[in-house]
């Protein structure tokens, strides 16, 4: 057991856990922040996506011992960010979600995309979002909502 000081959504948090514990489980079980989802545990689906020092990161495969002092932003906090807010609003106005389980990760990836490429092309969207899987098949609306958010932010 080790103690880690983390910054999550701007707040200082302290956890005591096995160093090998993936950040995902620290967020969900130690900090009770269940917005970040467990979909596969092998970085294949993207449901666990958070931002670490601004980089979209798959929290299911990153042990908490490798985070260091890099700030973490989760789905619970991304709405405070103007890009995050625009993406969430677009997701609602375009009726993107069905079951919703993948959408935390989809939104975190979409925000990372838009922060890096404010006017993404279809290819940009396919390449950047191609690692987030949606069993309900909301891909078409995800693309539409990303474009809507991009226009809204322009």
């Amino acid at each position: 057991m080790e103690t880690y000081k983390l910054t999550v959504n701007g707040q200082a948090k302290e956890v005591s856990t096995d160093p090998s514990t993936p950040l995902l489980w620290v967020l969900r079980e130690e900090l009770k922040m269940t917005g970040t989802k467990y979909g596969c545990g092998i970085s294949a689906c993207g449901a666990c996506t958070v931002h670490v020092a601004g980089v979209a990161t798959r929290s299911c495969v990153v042990p908490v011992s490798l985070i260091g002092d890099r700030p973490i932003v989760t789905i619970e906090g991304i709405g405070q960010d103007p890009v995050g807010r625009a993406v969430e609003d677009a997701w609602v106005s375009e009726d993107v979600v069905q079951c919703g389980y993948c959408q935390s990760g989809q939104i975190m990836s979409a925000v990372a995309l838009l922060k890096s490429i404010p006017k993404p092309t279809d290819t940009n969207i396919e390449e950047s979002m191609g690692g987030n899987i949606c069993r309900c098949g909301t891909y078409v609306r995800i693309r539409k909502a990303i474009k809507a958010a991009s226009q809204q932010l322009a």
């Binding site: 090998s20 993936p22 092998i42 996506t49 990161t57 990153v62 490798l66 990372a112 922060k115 191609g130």
Partner: protein
């Protein structure tokens, strides 16, 4: 491409070890940078070519060549299959937003989840590809030419190449690649890092000779 057999490597390596020890003794302590000068080495060009084959065996091992692709994607595993999860090269070889290399690969191996890691994990540029567009490994001659072509190798001279082999974190990683997701150790290149550096010295001392295309 056919790799030289391990036994053959071991035999020719003994030859190089002697040559290395000799040249190291004459140029100072082992571990110093070697300037590219004409050092009389036992065996000369032949020793250099033999050393090159050792280097080639390491460079074309999966731990190295998986990131020296000619394609839009990296490879994974000892069978060098296309990296899963739809990751792509991206403009700087670091992936694309939301699917950067750093999205999963951190600054050190994550043995508990099977994800390898090292500082600045990324793909080698296309100029440093050691495979063709069909994921077939290039010949010894082709890789050697690529490595010694300063317009392709990030403008490195012999000293630069040696430094790269000695210190580059991703190179060092290949020799300590961590555990797979099933808990087994990733397979290692045919030389240790020390042997790899020693072979590099010999090759550079011999003038970085390249084999002819067959």
């Amino acid at each position: 491409m056919v790799h030289p057999s391990t036994a053959m490597l071991r035999r020719s390596f003994m030859l190089i070890l002697v040559a290395c020890a000799w040249s190291a003794a004459s140029s100072g302590a082992l571990g110093q940078d070697t300037a590219m000068k004409k050092v009389p080495v036992q065996g000369g060009r032949e020793a250099g070519l033999a050393a090159w084959e050792h280097l080639y065996s390491v460079l074309t091992h999966p731990r190295c060549i998986n990131c020296h692709t000619a394609t839009n994607y990296p490879q994974q595993g000892d069978d060098r299959h296309r990296h899963l999860f739809n990751v792509v090269r991206g403009p700087g070889g670091k992936g694309v937003p939301a699917l950067n290399c750093a999205t999963c690969h951190q600054g050190a191996n994550a043995d508990s989840t099977g994800v390898p890691g090292a500082h600045n994990w990324h793909l080698a540029p296309l100029s440093m590809k050691w495979q063709n567009g069909n994921d077939e490994i290039l010949s010894s001659a082709e890789v050697c030419q690529s490595l010694t072509n300063r317009s392709k190798n990030d403008n490195l001279d012999g000293a630069g190449i040696l430094r790269h082999h000695q210190q580059e974190p991703l190179v060092l990683w290949a020799f300590k690649p961590g555990l797979r997701r099933d808990g087994t150790a990733r397979s290692l290149p045919p030389l240790t890092h020390e042997e790899f550096v020693a072979a590099t010295r010999t090759w550079i001392a011999a003038g970085m000779p390249c084999p002819q295309n067959p």
